[in-house]
Structures are given as structure tokens and as C-alpha cells.
Symmetry: C2
Subunit: 532 residues, 2 copies
């Protein structure tokens, strides 16, 4: 009794959304819809059922699903009783996926019917699992060889919870990030991390140029297993926007959903944007793209793609972060130095890596930890502080120590800073190509090549070279017929224009039908390197 | 080393503002201007100077000033070194004001030249004061009988601070509220309280109908000693708006500043709005009011005034809170139930007490702590939880216990709830009188009047007043013959003695044979109010 020690816990976000935006909707494809108010009821019921079947504070609960209302319920119901949500990467190879379930020591699994056979493959070694909660869209019961519960029954049969007092420093989530080397690393976040991240992202997206508001309908095209779907399942409650969940990725269906649900705000990696805009239906529905607000992250946005999007009336801002950072650290919104520039100049800023969002401190530093000059040339590493970064890699003190060297989180991303303070990533530490002792910033090179009208997608990797150490090789998905000489000529012009160094031009161009992808839809440079 | 435990401290807000909005301005009348970037430099310099003269973490630093750049510097520089900012109410009678300095155990004072004589009155009993920092707008040195430092020297001579690691749970501010009973009560807030309050207010004002943004210029017409000027000196850094400080209150000058600095966003009590709109210059400059965003709080907004403002194109939303709540709990922004209503219907909602801002939980409850129905009739008390409420009244456990009964903060405000969930205050639980947005502590006033030899019993109640909101009326049971003029003369003497403010003197004196009583023999003010 007495002073109420208010904890920053995710149930408070849901409480706010359901109180102030009760008739906003969460929509799963054309199958199910909930108002925020009904959604809160169902989440509370699910929470209480989870407790009843034995889920305890600290228990890890794995979710294996596409982007659905079931997943969204778990985002709230699991942490609200002090349990930990493990968002399992379903695009990992089955063995790797099951390894993460084992490594996280998951005790419970919430799983969509189609993934059950995959889980059964781990039957012999997943001894820690106490129960599996299954569901199918058709609401048929799905059995497993573990103790099995039906999701719909749990969601409907629970009671309204008595108020839980979860501490904000309790772990709320865990998930694995493969990076591009070694075993997947587990990162984890507390309730407080998630709430503060949500507040900051909500405030940032409310700013120009995105100006998100309760008038928007969100459809986030980032998997829900991928870094909290960039935080939006929580952010939506603060913004008061509708929230559309597209299930399994399918561009035609997504375009249709956009039209039907009047989607106005999305977030995605560049590849998804590329796929949507190049889909045959895109032209048919071109009006739905007009005014569409899109936050792009997860990989460098090719300039060519950015300008195509702009031509269609899409309002783009790049965002940046990583698994370790919950994820958002920067967004390319307007600071006070660029807001007075022309629309064209502002657009150039919108597609850079961006500036820190509220409460984040993001710097580009040299080897001695000093800020690099704002000359757009000097390359440094991005380091960060904010109140929502992972404390450690799960059960991995060694890599944790490297991550938190000097009490700054080291992103391993190399970047420059322009005169307005905007960061631009020029390379990933491990993707960097060093030729003759100098770095070739592969992202800049890719970007320039992408502006050739016949280049669809492009990726540069370094290959060993006796003379130079490393030399770049370009992999290109062409649009129609294109010859290597055409591209070389084009690049020579760019050299004359001062946009490239001559020695950056790749030694070799490989034309392919498509580029290999990682489980999070990023281009898989590991595979390309082995191909080269 | 290792994981950086990020604390939510006010220096982080300034750091954000100066990083992302470096050329935004803080403007003090026509005298001084700073960019956010320069302002941060000056604040850091001031902080370092304060340390050098001996200000220690935990030391209370009183500020006695109008709304100036000096005050704004103190808002950041004092808490940033772990010291506590005491925002002294300069509208208290001198004796009461000095009492608060004594009660807070202030060790340092930052004071404007014109208030120095007032401070000297306390010379004999303010033994705890280690130093006084004076300033004049003309930059002349101002001496006192205490060890004296010149503000401008301190502000310019300091060094860039090494990073301070202040803990977020450290006290950052303290101030006194006369509120509802005699002695002023001290309320206090931590860094974390202020940061979370700022995040929530910034997010709220970005929502419709106010839609504040970096395109706005703020001029807040609430004294800086009054509940953190409603949080805006901190909020402005998150929004990225210019910030205009008008010094001592003067409607003609403020209208002129509005015009000159293109002010677009303000906050104030209804009385100030009334004075500005009824000022002869208002008509001359009517174009500056078009689109002006105004948050109204501190007292009930008379409907007539609200509609006059609307007619002039002013965009109004009411806000609500109190000293104990930092202050904001609700704002009358749009929830999802009212956004589809007509403009006229929405306006009716905008001038109610409002709905909770993000992270605040605000309820209207009956005597058993149950939510009242949304019928706009059933009256209950407003109770609240949020992560920015005062933990206790300073050195007053008894009143603290009442404030935090049942772990909800009891506001003492009586309200109803409409079908859309909007709260509307209908009455004050207690007997304070609010005139021009400021409390007239009726018990102090009664106490002074009762010292007149011919006054037997005395009770003060508030009556509605178009201009001031409320004005006091005195009911007196005389001892023998007494005339109103005699009492007025007596009270004027008390004003000269610094025991009363002139504007506290009741407008009307009613002489009665006896005062009505409740069943427990207390004076029944409800009956008196209906008589008045």
C-alpha cells in the first residue's frame, strides 16, 4: 500500500491502447478481426489460461508461427505473466531452429499446425518441454506427441486476470540472431526495454516526414520473429493505428490487403519493397501506393529503388538498428538542419541511415573512440547507447564483452557522417572489402550500380586476390538483356562524375536469376562469397 | 565497463535536443537568444561552475525568477549535477515564500536582481544558505549579504563537463503547493519521473487535434515555478520546437512576442487566455491567433471563453493534472470513439478534462474504488497511477498516506465520465479557491482575518467569476460592531507585512449571526457557497 511503484511493463501499453483506442482493429488477413478492446480481453483470458496450465514466471515460451493474431496475442499474454516470449525464427533450417529452442531452454511452445511436423523432429531431445499449444486457422484440434493444449480453448476459457505486478527489469523476450558468422546468438530484452523503445519509436514516427497517427493503418512486412517486428506490435497501441497481419509472406495477397484495409504505413527490408513494386498487380493498384508511408531497414536501400518508390508517391524514411538494439537506433526523419532544404535534397537525407531517435545516443567513432568529422568521407564504427539495448548474448560472456567494449554497444557497422549529422552506413564490418590496403565501401558501390536502368538487384562481395588482398565481384539480377560492357561503360561515367573510384569497379560481373537470401530475407553474402 | 546501464536523466533530453535540433532557438523576450546547441554548451558550463563553487549532489538550489533563459538553464544545469531544483513560488507572500526556502533546506539560491530585497528579509533565519547567485538583465553585478556569485560569470567560465552519471531515481526537483489546506506542501520528482512525463506529453501533443511538431514555436504562459511549467521546458527538446520565454507576465508584450516570434503553441490557465483575448491589442493582431494551438489547464475552462477562442481560429485542448502529478495526467485529445464525430461535437470533447495520456492510468471511482458508470451523471473521485507521480509530500508522512490511500493517487477532484470515456471535473473535493489559475489557500486567509479583534468566526468560500474563474467571499460572525472598510484596511496592512497577497483579499464580506455547521460541527462550506 502507499506509493504505487509503477513498472514499465508491456501490459501497460495494451491497457493504454484498449482504453484510448478501444475500437481500433487488429486484422489477420480476411479471417479474424479484433477491436483493441476485445483483443485485451482475449489476451487477459489467454494469460490466465497459461497460468492455469502451469506456465510460471521465467518460463520460456516459444512461438512458431507466421505473422498472425495468435502471435500478436503471445506478444502480450506471455510477458504479462512474467514468462518469456521466444520468437522462433521459422526460416532457419529445421535443425538450427530446434537448436535455438534447446539453447533457450523453452518449456512451452505455441505453434501453428503446419509447423508441428517440424517440432516433432526434435521430440527425442526436447525433453524440457512441458506443453505444446497448437492451433489451426480452421479451429480444428491439432495433436502432438507432447502434452497438447488447444490455443482457441485457452484464449476463450480464461478468466479476467487479477492485476499482475510484473517488475520492469524482468526478461520479456528472447530470440536468436545468426548474423553472418558462427552459431546463432541469443539476445534478450526486459519489459522496460520494450516500453521505452516503443515510446521512442512512436514519437519518432509521429515526426515529419512520416507523421504517423491514429489515422494510419499499419501493415508491417517484417516477420514477427524478427526483432519484435521492429517494435510495431507494441508501438501500434501508443499510436492508436489499426494493425493488419498478413500471415505468411505473399506479395499478391499483401497488395490486396493493402487495398482492402486501406493500409497507409508499413515497414520492411528493401527486398520486400522491390518485390511488391515489381509485382504485376502493383500497377493495377497503383493508387494504393500514393501517400504510403514506408520505413525501410534491415539492409541498405538501393537509391534506384528509393527513387522508383518516390515516383509512385511513396513516402520513405530509412530506419536502422539490429537484433541487439531491440532494434531501432536511428530513423532518417528531419532534423532542424535539413527541414528547410528543397524536397529533392530532403529526399536524399530520408534515404540515408538517419539520426538518433529520442533517448538513443548514436555516434560514429574512430579506433580511439573519437567522433569522426562530418565530412562524409572518414569511416568509423557506429556505437550506441540507449535504454533498450540487450544486456548480453544469452550464455555467451565472451561475445558479450566484445559487444559492450568501453561501455558502448559496438554495432560492427562502418559509416560516415554528413554535414547535417546524418549517418550513412558504408559497409558491414565483416562484409568490408579491403583492396590494396584501402576499403572499398561495398554499399556505395552497390548503390551506384543499382541506378543503371537494367540492373534489378545487385550484391558485391570480396574475393581473395593475390595482388590486392581482395577484389570486388558483382552479382546482378538484370532487368531484360544487359551486357557487361554496358555496365562497365556506365561505371566509368560515374568515375568521371566523381561518384566512384576507378579501382572500385568490380573485376567480374556475374548475372544471375536471383540472389540467395538469409532467413530474414537479406541477401546472403556468405553464399555469394562461396560462389565467387 | 561492459553493459551501459542507461539512466533516464534530464541531461539526456537536452542532449537529444541539441543533437537533432541544434539550430532551434530559446528566446528570452527581445533580450537574449540561444540555439539549442549553444544552450547545451552554456548549461554544461554552468553545471561545471556550480560544482566548482561547491554545489554537491543532493543540495537544494532555489530559483527565484520570472520566466527567463536563466531559469531554463537552471532546469537543466542543477539536476544534471545531482542537485535539486527548487522552483520557488514568487507569488506567495514574502513570509510564506521564505518559509518554503527554509522548509526545503535550500543551500543555494539563483535569484533575479529585483527579488534580492525579498530574500534579504530572511537573512536572519536562512542560516543554511551557502551562496547566492544573482543576475540582472543589464549584466550588472548584484550584491547580497550572503556569499554572492554572478550568474553570467558562472555561465560563461565553466568547462565542458566530463560525463556525469546521475542515477535516474535521484531527486531532481522540489516545489510547494498550497493546494487545499493551510501550509504549503512540498512535492518532489526524480529524473526518471521528468523524462517519462516528457516522453508522454510530447507524444500526446503530437496527436490530433494539437499535432505539435518541430514546425511549432512554443510560448508557455504558465510560470516556470508552477509544476515544471507543465513540463514544457523539457518537452520542447523532444519535440524540437523553438521556445519563447516571456519574462514577467504582461499581455501586451506577450501578444507582441507572439507576432514577432511566430508563436504557434502555448499552454495557460483560462484567466490568461481571457486576458489576452480581451486585451485591446488582440483585435489588432487577430491574424496571429489563427491556428494557435493552446493547451488549457489549471482551472475549469468557461464554455463561453472556449467558444470565443474557437471563433478566432484558436485550436484548443484542455489538459489536467496537479502539482503532485508533475503535472499532466489527461489531455482532451481525440480517442478513437470521437474522431469520427462532427467538428462541433469534437470541440465539445476538446474542452472536457480529457483522457489519459500514454502510460497514465486515470480512473473516476466511487467510495469503494469501483469505476463509475459512463453516464455523465455519477460523480466519483479521480485517482491515478503513472510513472511520474510524487512519492510523498516532503516531510509530511500523514498527508502522504492520505494521498496514496490504496496505492492510487487521490486527486481530490470530483468528476463524471461521458459515454466516450472523457472525464469532466465537476467539483473540488476540498475547499481551496482557484483564482486566475493560482490557489488562494483559504485556511491561511481565514487565519489572518481571524486575527482582527472584531472578527468572531470566519469562513471563506469561492464563488464563480467570469474573469478569474473563482473569487473569494468572506462570511464573518462579528464581535460587536464592525465595518467592511475596517477589515479591508487591516488586510492591506497584512499585505504590507508580507502575510497576504493583495489579490487574495475577498471581493465581498458578508456579516452573519452564525455559520452553518455539518453534523460533525465543521463549518458547512457547501451551504455557504450556495448562499454566496
Amino acid at each position: 500500500m502507499g506509493y504505487y511503484n509503477y513498472n514499465l511493463t508491456v501490459d501497460k501499453l495494451l491497457d493504454y491502447g484498449a482504453t484510448v483506442y478501444p475500437n481500433r482493429e487488429i486484422v489477420y488477413k480476411d479471417r479474424r478481426r479484433y477491436t483493441f478492446s476485445l483483443f485485451r480481453e482475449r489476451v487477459e483470458s489467454l494469460s490466465s489460461s497459461l497460468e492455469k496450465i502451469g506456465v510460471k514466471p521465467g518460463d520460456k515460451v516459444a512461438v512458431v508461427d507466421w505473422d498472425t493474431d495468435v502471435y500478436m496475442s503471445a506478444y502480450y499474454a506471455v510477458p504479462s505473466i512474467g514468462a518469456v516470449l521466444h520468437t522462433v525464427n521459422v526460416r532457419y533450417p529445421p535443425e538450427v531452429m530446434l537448436k535455438t529452442v534447446l539453447h533457450a531452454e523453452d518449456k512451452w511452445v505455441i505453434i501453428r499446425d503446419e509447423f508441428v511436423p517440424l517440432l516433432e523432429k526434435g521430440k527425442n531431445f526436447l525433453n524440457g518441454i512441458k506443453g505444446v499449444i497448437t492451433y489451426s486457422d480452421e479451429k480444428e484440434k491439432v495433436k502432438t506427441s507432447f502434452p497438447t493444449y488447444d490455443f482457441w480453448e485457452l484464449q476463450e476459457s480464461g478468466e479476467k486476470l487479477p492485476p499482475h505486478e510484473i517488475k520492469e527489469d524482468m526478461q520479456a523476450t528472447v530470440f536468436y540472431t545468426s548474423g553472418t558468422t558462427g552459431d546463432p546468438k541469443g539476445v534478450w530484452f526486459t519489459h522496460r526495454d520494450l516500453v521505452l523503445h516503443s515510446m521512442s519509436v512512436a514519437l519518432t514516427t509521429s515526426k515529419p516526414p512520416l507523421r504517423s497517427s491514429q489515422d494510419d493503418t499499419f501493415m508491417i512486412l517484417v516477420p514477427m520473429f524478427h526483432v519484435h517486428q521492429w517494435g510495431f506490435p507494441y508501438v501500434t497501441m501508443l499510436v492508436g493505428s489499426n494493425y493488419v497481419l498478413p500471415g505468411r509472406y505473399d506479395p499478391a495477397m499483401e497488395i490486396e490487403l493493402m487495398r482492402k484495409e486501406h493500409v497507409t504505413f508499413s515497414a520492411m527490408v528493401p527486398t520486400i519493397l522491390f518485390m511488391i513494386l515489381s509485382h504485376p498487380n502493383a500497377m493495377k493498384y497503383s493508387d494504393v501506393f500514393k501517400g504510403w508511408k514506408v520505413m525501410i531497414g534491415g539492409a541498405a536501400l538501393p537509391t534506384g529503388l528509393a527513387y522508383s518508390a518516390r515516383k509512385m508517391g511513396i513516402n520513405i524514411a530509412v530506419g536502422y538498428g539490429m537484433s541487439e538494439t531491440a532494434p531501432v537506433l536511428t530513423v532518417a526523419y528531419y532534423n532542424s538542419l535539413v527541414e528547410g532544404l528543397s524536397e529533392d535534397e530532403k529526399f536524399v537525407q530520408q534515404i540515408k541511415t538517419g539520426i538518433p531517435i529520442p533517448l538513443a545516443q548514436v555516434r560514429v567513432v574512430d579506433e580511439n573512440g573519437r567522433d569522426v568529422p562530418r565530412d562524409e568521407k572518414t569511416v568509423g564504427e557506429i556505437v550506441a547507447r540507449s535504454p533498450w539495448l540487450t544486456r548480453s548474448y544469452y550464455k555467451d560472456p565472451e561475445r558479450t564483452e566484445r559487444l559492450w567494449k568501453d561501455s558502448w554497444l559496438h554495432t560492427g557497422d562502418l559509416a560516415v557522417v554528413d554535414k547535417y549529422g546524418y549517418i550513412r552506413i558504408v559497409d558491414r564490418d565483416k562484409d568490408a572489402i579491403k583492396s590494396g590496403g584501402e576499403f572499398i565501401p561495398s554499399l556505395i558501390l552497390e548503390d551506384v550500380i543499382s541506378t543503371h536502368p537494367k540492373v534489378g538487384e545487385i550484391a558485391i562481395v570480396g574475393v581473395k586476390d593475390e595482388k590486392w588482398g581482395e577484389r570486388p565481384v558483382a552479382f546482378i539480377v538484370p532487368k531484360g538483356e544487359v551486357k557487361e560492357d554496358e555496365i562497365r561503360e556506365f561505371l566509368m561515367k560515374k568515375v568521371e562524375e566523381g561518384k566512384l573510384q576507378k579501382w572500385w569497379i568490380p573485376d567480374k560481373f556475374v548475372f544471375v536469376k536471383e540472389l540467395p537470401r538469409t532467413s530474414t530475407n537479406k541477401i546472403d553474402k556468405k553464399i555469394l562469397r562461396s560462389m565467387a
